[in-house]
């Protein structure tokens, strides 16, 4: 078993790397200030986690798309399980080891790789031991099962937040009761009381943040696109880690301002911008640089990521914080994409393609995602109807042995040649 110092060293690697990136970004005019803020935020997040136990703080591990506003309102230190496992793997270059460790504890390669990495990281003792585990069915079967290994391996107690897919009055009442039960559980476990005023403040911040996400997304409609294609991942991470926190608002406001300035200067990410691409699903994170490089060779820029950037309609009301938490869950882009596959989703995709003047779509078909796989053909047919071709790029978010870099590059080249030929 890995000792507490070694566990710390993995998290320290993330902190050190993020601090270094933030420091090196300072004072360099070619690097956006938002980039520096982002990495400083990550460093601070992991620094707090690193020292949490020694400082007597209460740590709650939680799966993806969890309403962290509640944790921050209770002064509980959050630990995002999937993203922390990813970052441990990415920053320490150990994703292959962690996948291999997960295989040793019995996880089949067909299981979604972020969850395999998470289990591998837990089995290898790379993650700090949380005080409690919170998990939910947001947004797939893997996250619904994601809490059990954490509890087994960490020996902590946990709470499963059962989140209905539909949003009728009955189901909303059910979700509200679930949230109330979770707060009761957390109060009992942590000995801390929910600070409802603080939750209201967090909701007010989240409402502003959603407004900024929408504004940023709108700016991506500009030709040429001012948006660095990989930055969708930052937006995604900021919501996962810092929803409702003032530093997230600061980051988004800075980024929004930078995009406005880029547009004002008439600058774009590709020069010339020949193809505007919509990306569906999560690209292989280790190959993001290679994907961007091939894309730019053809003047192709990803200008829309509806899975991560298309927030649903509505506002949050700080006076009704718990209702707003529920509302936010239903508005989340991933909930819109992975919720019930209905006309709402298909219309949204068509509108997104039209508004962003899309030439082609790349569907990153993560092999471990059964829900995503079920939607591929329907989405492709719908986009074909509006003459937007779609590349189905079979790949894995983390495991590059499923679809190696050269294979990804080749398929992208073929797709961009297809767009060139039209």
């Amino acid at each position: 078993m890995i000792g507490s110092e070694e566990k710390k060293s993995r998290i320290k690697t993330i902190v050190r790397a993020c601090r270094l990136i933030a420091r090196m970004s300072k004072g360099r005019p070619e690097v956006l200030e938002s980039h520096r803020i982002y990495y400083q935020m990550l460093a601070d997040y992991y620094d707090r986690l690193l020292n949490a136990q020694e400082e007597g703080e209460f740590v709650a591990a939680h799966t993806i798309f969890f309403p962290v506003e509640i944790l921050y309102a209770m002064d509980i230190v959050p630990m995002h399980t999937e993203l922390t496992a990813w970052m441990t793997a990415l920053f320490s270059g150990s994703y292959a080891d962690l996948l291999s460790t997960s295989a040793e504890v019995g996880l089949a390669p067909e299981i979604c790789s972020p969850y395999r990495v998470l289990t591998g990281a837990l089995a290898a003792g790379c993650l700090p031991r949380p005080n409690v585990m919170l998990w939910s069915n947001l947004i797939c079967d893997n996250s619904a099962k994601g809490g059990e290994p954490v509890m087994d391996m960490s020996g902590c107690s946990g709470f499963f937040l059962d989140c209905p897919f539909q949003q009728t009055d009955y189901e909303n009442r059910y979700l509200k009761e679930e949230l109330e039960d979770m707060i009761y559980f957390l109060e009992k476990q942590s000995g801390r009381k929910m600070n409802w005023d603080k939750l209201s403040d967090n909701i007010a911040q989240s409402d502003r943040q959603i407004e900024l996400y929408r504004k940023i997304n709108e700016l991506r409609q500009t030709v040429p696109s001012p948006f660095p294609p990989q930055d969708f991942l930052k937006l995604f991470t900021v919501d996962c880690f810092f929803a409702g926190q003032p530093e997230a608002t600061n980051y988004l406001e800075t980024f929004h301002q930078e995009l406005l300035e880029t547009i004002r200067d008439g600058r774009g990410m590709a020069s010339p911008e020949r193809f505007r691409v919509m990306s569906i699903g999560m690209p292989p994170v280790l190959l993001l640089g290679a994907i961007e490089k091939v894309s730019l060779e053809y003047g192709a820029v990803s200008v829309a990521d509806p899975f991560f950037c298309n927030w649903g309609e509505g506002r949050l009301d700080p006076q009704k914080p718990l209702d707003s938490v529920m509302k936010k869950i239903s508005m989340h882009p991933v909930m819109v994409m992975y919720g019930p596959l209905d006309e709402r989703l298909l219309d949204m995709l068509i509108n997104c393609a039209k508004q962003h003047k899309i030439d082609g779509t790349i569907n990153y078909a993560h092999v471990g995602c059964k829900q995503g796989a079920a939607t591929i053909k329907i989405v492709k047919d719908v986009l074909n109807e509006i003459d937007v071709p779609m590349l189905i790029l079979d790949c894995d978010i983390i495991d590059t042995t499923i679809a190696p870099e050269e294979e990804i590059r080749e398929k992208l080249r073929q797709f961009f040649e297809l767009l060139e030929d039209r």
């Binding site: 189905i392 040649e417 297809l418 030929d421 039209r422």
Partner: protein, 263 residues
């Protein structure tokens, strides 16, 4: 300036030279360890046939798995782009081409202008490829041509796995050694059906659309093509030399580039 296309495949390398009237010369040579040498060999053979030499003014486009390694081509193009051009040139009514090569199968959709509109390919498993058929022929101790002829006599087909080449091989062995053994023609028909069922799932992924052409070395196998036609529900078009469709397409792209003045 002459337009020339080279398709460097895993088993064979093909070259085609065009003139104003169409295909001036073509050749097929075995691919060696080095793509560059194979491409040079195919080029040399084709140039000899056409009475040309390396010193003539040539515009070369390379494609295929080894296409990117060719130093003397002006440009590299994806196999799918070239296949679309080549099959449309051979059969202007074609809307879908099934390329069955040595190591992979590619299905492309072609629009009325001979441009690629969609594709799907299978390159993760030997099942469904030309090399798989060669292995099966070895196992059955007969030539590929004899296998094709034998398949026409089959009244039914043996069950052979379509998902894994290794399982398929052990299934064939078990059919051969069964008591009484499964009739050889039924085993062959089963092998072909397993290949075709993989191809059909790819075709359905992009949507089957008439007319359909079949290219690549496996298209020479009349027994397999017959089973493919049965499964697809209508007749397919097979060019006289199906292996050169992508090289022809590459030559057509080269000709377009010459006309557009692209260096």
């Amino acid at each position: 300036m002459k337009a020339l296309g080279i398709d460097v495949g895993s088993l064979t390398t093909k070259a085609v030279i065009l003139d104003d009237d169409g295909i001036l010369a073509s050749s097929i040579v075995s691919s060696g360890d080095e793509a560059e040498l194979s491409a040079k060999a195919a080029l040399e053979q084709t140039l000899n046939q056409a009475g040309l030499s390396f010193d003539d003014n040539l515009y070369i486009i390379s494609t295929g798995v080894g296409g990117k390694s060719i130093s003397f081509s002006q440009q590299q193009k994806a196999l799918t782009t070239c296949l679309a051009r080549g099959s449309h040139y051979l059969f202007p009514s074609v809307r879908m081409t099934i390329e069955m090569g040595a190591e992979s199968s590619t299905i492309i959709k072609v629009n009325e202008r001979g441009r690629l509109s969609d594709w799907a390919n299978q390159d993760k498993c030997a099942a469904g490829s030309g090399i798989f058929l060669q292995q099966m022929a070895k196992l059955m101790e007969m030539s590929l041509a004899d296998m094709a002829q034998l398949s026409f006599k089959a009244k039914s087909k043996a069950d052979i796995s379509s998902t894994c080449a290794v399982f398929a091989e052990s299934e064939v062995i078990s059919h051969v050694h069964r008591d009484p053994p499964t009739p050889r023609e039924e085993i062959v028909a089963g092998i072909y059906f397993s290949v075709v069922s993989r191809i059909m799932s790819l075709c359905k992924r992009v949507g089957i659309e008439k007319d359909v052409a079949v290219t690549g070395g496996v298209a020479l196998n009349s027994g397999l093509v017959r089973i493919l036609e049965e499964e697809i529900g209508f007749g397919v078009m097979v060019p006289d030399i199906p292996q050169i469709a992508a090289a022809l397409g590459a030559a057509l792209v080269a000709r377009e580039n010459i006309e557009k003045g692209i260096k």
